[in-house]
Chain length 348, copies 2
DNA sequence: TTGTACGCGTTATCAA
DNA sequence: TTGATAACGCGTACAA
């Protein structure tokens, strides 16, 4: 609870010298350095981050902008929160949680307090007014997710295209030629083209055309009931289906039982791969799910690192800092829900 | 980006008058008030929260202390994060996320920067050095969860005792007399007595004794495999079991299939109630789970409200402020996994 | 009701 | 290498 002034008096030096010692901003002679550190420990000096922020015009606080009232967020969002906060802490920053609606006004209001040096934006949509507002405000930020036109926007996102490739590689190597894709049904949602679903669908269409696979695409409502319904829709659209990619965690269990209800066994008759999920999540069903684990932890960590790097570089070097646009791969975790296609030997 | 000084100059008043208008700390004449507000809008004045914090010795920031590296946290923790941040925002506060280990040193280091006015502590254990440290530091805080000796500690926690009563009431009203309890296995964990599990077990023991039920208690490993194993252990220990309480979300699906593997149908032969879970989570299985939904959102909201109330009351009134110790009930959501006991009519 | 002036605890700019 | 001292932007006695 001691101030710099008190430490300076105790050490018999000027307040500026104490500041030099604390920040290492100038070199001080070993003797005075020792006197200052002694005084600091004797008085139990600790920095006052608020005073430092006022004087230095840097708060060393970054904000994580998340969509309030969003019910779809799950375990991977939580891991992003935690890893972002942890990495920020390691880098000497604090992370504040900012709930925001879809409107850019929320962003402007929050930023106007000048509490934060930079912002991370979560759940970025294809058209996102929050990103527009941040660009206009000139505040350093990193987008977690991509808009449709991200020319000069630093972002960290999941590589949905690559995830689809990995999943199809896996299934094709097991001999599957008839593969369905199950995506969340956004037709009743205000969202016009949800990025992850849109990118996954597009990547799937391109890849299956190139690979020459038989395919079908069905949408899926929430929870087990939605998954069960999707299973029926899928087998109706693609009766000889032997492989399924699904990107809707809460419906995957229902998909499994829905497939069973049509007389198809997993993985005996049909293999299932859960996209953008997690091993832990996949372990909750029987059989356990082959998953492409979303890099939530890495996304949080990298987004913070990218933002902090720009902040620590200073306003001068900010312009010439390279634009970090990172796509993180999912990790394929092979488990019980995928296996050789019917008629293909187990060692095939 | 305008300062108070600039607004004052524009309005032709003193800087103090502007401050009075901004904070409502003194009454100002309607005419000058108008001149000031006009100047503010013309210059686009916004408060500088850092300068305000330095002068007022209040940052209006609270910290949420969460256990770093904790993998067990799930959806309800995420909802706590989001609701706490949202409520704080509504009350004019900011929420920063502070990762901490088990050691109290982390807490002391974080607090020493004087960045926050108060702290929320998550996942409080029966013996928690973080709580001890906060008490010693004299910093206002609210515990989310309870220690074993919480005489003067303000807390918000789930009412595990009541949840057990609700679950047993539900099952008993359906005619069940032989009920098992499935809890997470902490024998291999460093945690000595995990609060929620310990309180649930104790409440269960007391309640079933009073009710005169036949019971068994089994522990449960992670994921579906753990639940399946628990099902076998349970039917071995209590062959005529017709009702199960389980508090381990990722194993509940496995419990269902494990029961099926022993020839017992849910809910035809055995009813299952998932404790401290969520309706959304329970909808992922078939049948959908009857759950006692954890009040994660309410806990985050109430903890913030309690803390902010104390902070806004000021240091003077803090001592005489009542000690808020709140136990929040779970909400019973009856779904597909519970029904009348065998031999009891559906209208029983 | 309004103005003056000091304090909050640092950082940063000059001198020395 | 060190020391004065002016910002930083706002809150608040105290005075007018």
């Amino acid at each position: 609870m001691a101030t710099m002034r008190e430490v300076a008096a105790r050490a018999g030096v000027s307040i500026a010298t104490v500041s030099f010692v604390v920040n290492g901003s100038r070199s001080v002679s070993p003797t005075t350095h020792q006197r200052v550190t002694d005084a600091m420990t004797e008085l139990g000096y600790t920095n006052n981050v608020v005073a430092r922020a006022l004087a230095s015009k840097r708060t060393r606080i970054v904000a994580l902008l998340f969509p309030a009232l969003e019910e779809r967020l799950g375990g991977i969002a939580l891991r992003m929160f935690m890893s972002a906060a942890t990495r920020a802490s390691e880098l000497g920053y604090h992370l504040v949680l900012w709930p925001s609606g879809e409107t850019d006004q929320d962003v402007r209001d929050l930023v106007s307090g000048r509490l934060v040096d930079g912002v991370l934006v979560m759940e970025v949509q294809l058209h996102d007014s929050r990103v527009d507002a941040l660009l206009e405000l000139g505040l350093p930020f990193v987008s977690m997710g991509r808009t449709s036109q991200n020319d000069r926007v630093p972002f960290v996102d999941m590589d949905f295209e690559e995830a689809v490739e990995q999943a199809l590689d896996h299934l094709e190597s097991l001999g599957h030629q008839s593969i369905g894709l199950v995506l969340e049904d956004f037709s009743a949602s205000p969202i016009v083209g949800y990025g992850p679903a849109a990118r996954t669908e597009e990547a799937f269409r391109r890849s299956v055309a190139r690979r020459g696979l038989r395919t079908a695409l069905v949408t899926c409502g929430p929870s087990a009931a939605g998954g069960r319904r999707a299973a029926h829709d899928l087998v109706a659209a693609l009766p000889d289906v032997t492989g399924v990619l699904i990107m809707k965690d809460d419906a995957t269990g229902g998909l499994l039982s829905g497939l069973a209800a049509t007389g198809r066994r997993v993985p005996g008759d049909v293999s299932v791969v859960s996209l953008a999920s997690s091993t832990a999540n996949g372990a909750a069903t029987e059989p356990t799910l082959t998953t492409l684990d979303a890099p939530g932890v890495e996304m949080g960590r990298l987004a913070v690192e990218s933002l902090v790097a720009r902040l620590d570089a200073g306003a001068g070097a900010a312009a010439e800092a390279e634009l970090t646009q990172v796509l993180l791969p999912c990790v394929l975790h092979v488990a019980g829900s995928s296996g050789p296609a019917r008629g293909v030997g187990a060692r095939g």
